[in-house]
Symmetry: C2
Subunit: 350 residues, 2 copies
C-alpha cells in the first residue's frame, strides 16, 4: 500500500467508552511502533476526549478528533438508532469508510445498531445476500473463524456457501494460510444429520471446483478442539455456540477459583504457581479473540466486544489493521463472482 | 414403592463394555449400601461377564445375567440396528422395561440405535409427538437440564412446549425442586430474536396457566452460568451447544496442563496444589453429568456416554435409580394431559 492507512474509530462506543477506546489505541501503538505511520480518526465528544489525549501521548500524536456530541446508546434498538442516529459517533465512523477517507472502521458499541448503519451506508456487496458476523475462537495451536454468529437468524443454503467463501478469505487475510480448511457445523448422529438447508450447502460445497478446502461436516467440539480453520453456520446456531462456550469458560474459571481458594494450602501453592496461572490466563483471555468482523459489505467494519477494556480494544484494532493491509475486499469480490458463475453453470437453486 | 426395584442393564453397550458396566455397578453399590435391595439384570455375553462378576463381588450378589451373544455395534446405523438387532443385549435391555419386569433401562451403547429400539418397543407416550434426549449440565451452584440434545433436528413450537413440561418434571424428579425455572434458548440481539417457531413457543409458554415457572428467553451462556434450571431447545441447537461446551472444557484443560507443565517451578507448585486440583477436577468431571435420559416414552431409558468409565457409568446408574424411585412417569402423564387440554381451550396451532 502506498497510500497512508486511515482507521475510523467510534470513540464513544462500548460500556466504558471513551476511556477504553483511547487507552486501546495507546496500547496498540505502544506494541506496534510501526503503526505510527497510520492515521486515526476519533469520532466523539471533544470535551471528553481532550483529557484522555493529554493522558495518552501516542494517540494524541497520531489521532485527529472529529467532534460530535451524539452517541448511540448500548441498548438502543437498531431501527431507532438508524432513524435517529445520523451524525452520531457511530454513524460518522461508518461514514468515513463509506466516503473512502478511512479503509476500515471500528466500534465497541451496540452490535445491532452498527450492523444496521453499516448495511445502510456501505451496502451489501454484489453477490452477497446478507452480511455475516465472523468471530475468532482459540484452538490448541491456532485460531478458528466462526460465522455467522448473529447477523442472520435463518439462512438458506446459498448463504451458507457464501459464508464459506467469506470466512475462507478472512482467515487467509488474518493468518496468511493459503488454503484454510472449511467445515459446516452439524450434529453427529448419523441418521439425524442436518436439515435440508445444511445438506444442500454440503452438496454445493462438495461439488464446487473453486478450490475451496472444504472438509465436510464438523461438530460443536471441533470449534475449540478440531482440525478446522473456518466453521460455517447460521447466525442462530453460531450465536448460541459462541455464548455457550463463553459460559463454559466462565464456569470453569469460577470452579478453578473456588478450588484454589478453598484451603490455605491451596492459596500458598497458587501463589507459588503464579507464573503458570498467568500463562494460562493469557491463553484463555477472551480479549485475545476480541473483534467480530462484518463480512460481505462494501467496506471493512470491525465490532469490538462492548464490555472490553483497553487491551481488548487494542486486539480488535490489530485485527482491523491486519485486514486493512490485506487484499481481503478484492479477493472476496473475485471469489464471489466465481462462485456465482459456478452456481449458474450447475443450476444451483437453494 | 413396595415392589422391589429392578434395573435392566445393557452390559455390552459402550466403548469399553462389558468391563466398565460391571465395574460401574460395583462402584454404585459400594457408594450406596441401601441399593443392595435393588435387583440388576445384566444383558450380555455370559462367558465375558463371568470373570467380571468374580472380580466384583457386590454385583455378583445382586445381579442376574441374561445371556445373549449378540451386541449392537457402536457405529451401526439405527435403522439397521433395529432390523437386525432383535435379541441383542440392547434390545433385551429395552424389552425388560417394556414387559414391566424392570422399571428402568440403561445402556452406554450406540445412541441412535438405543433411541430407535426404545421408540419401537416402548412407543412414544400419548400426548408426546416425539421423544427428546435430556442432558445434565453443571452450574456454579446446581445442575441444569438441557433438552433436546439430539433426538429431533427440527422441532415445531408445540414440541418445544412439550419439552418444557418433560424437562420440568425431570428436573423435579432428580433434584426435588418443586417449581424449577424453565428458559427457552434464543439469541440475544433484540431485533434478531428467534425465528417464528421459538416465538410461538414463547407465547404459548407465557400464556399458559398450568403453573410452569417459565422465565422467558435465555442465552447460550445461561446454560453454564445462568439462573435457570431447565433449558429448552431443538435437538440441532442443543447438540451443538453441548458439544461446543465439551470442546471448550477440553481446550481449557489442555491450556491448563500446558501452562502448569511449562516450567519446573510450575510443576513443583502443581504438586503442592494437588488437593486443589483434585477438587477442581472433580467438579468439572464430565462423568458427574453422565446420563442422558430419553423423555417422552412409555418407560424410562437412560443413555450413558459411550466412552465413559466405571465411575461415569455409576453416575448414570444413579440417575436411573433416582428416576425409578420418583413419580416421574405419572407426573408427566398428568401434566401433558393438562397441557393439551389447555392447547384445545386456547386453540393453539403450532
Amino acid at each position: 500500500m502506498t497510500d497512508q492507512l486511515v482507521i475510523s474509530i467510534d470513540a464513544m462506543g462500548g460500556d466504558n467508552a471513551p476511556d477504553i477506546v483511547v487507552e486501546g489505541v495507546e496500547v496498540y501503538l505502544k506494541a506496534h511502533p510501526e503503526a505510527s505511520a497510520i492515521r486515526y480518526l476519533l469520532h466523539g465528544d471533544e470535551a471528553k476526549l481532550a483529557p484522555l489525549l493529554d493522558k495518552y501521548s501516542r494517540v494524541k500524536a497520531q489521532a485527529e478528533v472529529r467532534h460530535t456530541d451524539t452517541a448511540i446508546d448500548m441498548n438502543a434498538k437498531p431501527s431507532q438508532a438508524v432513524r435517529r442516529g445520523k451524525g452520531s459517533s457511530m454513524w460518522n465512523t461508518v461514514a468515513a469508510v463509506k466516503s473512502g477517507e478511512a479503509i476500515v472502521g471500528i466500534s465497541a458499541g451496540n452490535t445491532g445498531a452498527l450492523m444496521a448503519m453499516s448495511k445502510l451506508q456501505l451496502r451489501t456487496k454484489d453477490g452477497v445476500q446478507r452480511p455475516a458476523i465472523a468471530a475468532i475462537w482459540p484452538q490448541p495451536k491456532s485460531m478458528c473463524v466462526v460465522l455467522d454468529v448473529g447477523a442472520n437468524v435463518e439462512c438458506d443454503a446459498s448463504q451458507l456457501v457464501e459464508f464459506a467463501v467469506l470466512g475462507e478469505a478472512y482467515f487467509r487475510a488474518l493468518y496468511n494460510k493459503e488454503h484454510p480448511s472449511i467445515g459446516l457445523l452439524n450434529v453427529g448422529t448419523e441418521e439425524l444429520k442436518g436439515n435440508s438447508v445444511i445438506k444442500a450447502a454440503h452438496e454445493r460445497l462438495t461439488e464446487s471446483e473453486l478450490g475451496l478446502n472444504y472438509i465436510g461436516y464438523v461438530e460443536g467440539n471441533d470449534i475449540s478442539f478440531g482440525d478446522v480453520d473456518v466453521v460455517v453456520t447460521d447466525g442462530f446456531t453460531g450465536n448460541i455456540a459462541l455464548k455457550t462456550a463463553e459460559g463454559t469458560a466462565k464456569l470453569i474459571g469460577h470452579f478453578f477459583q473456588e478450588s484454589l481458594n478453598s484451603t490455605l494450602w491451596s492459596k500458598f501453592a497458587s501463589f507459588l504457581n503464579y507464573l503458570g496461572f498467568m500463562r494460562l490466563k493469557k491463553r484463555m483471555d477472551p480479549r485475545r479473540a476480541n473483534g467480530g468482523v462484518f463480512l460481505g459489505l462494501n467496506g471493512l467494519m470491525i465490532k469490538s466486544h462492548g464490555g472490553t477494556d483497553g487491551l481488548g480494544f487494542a486486539n480488535a484494532l490489530s485485527i482491523a489493521i491486519d485486514l486493512a493491509k490485506s487484499h481481503f475486499l478484492e479477493e472476496i469480490e473475485e471469489e464471489l463472482t466465481a462462485l456465482h458463475v459456478e452456481d449458474d453453470n450447475i443450476g444451483f437453486i437453494p
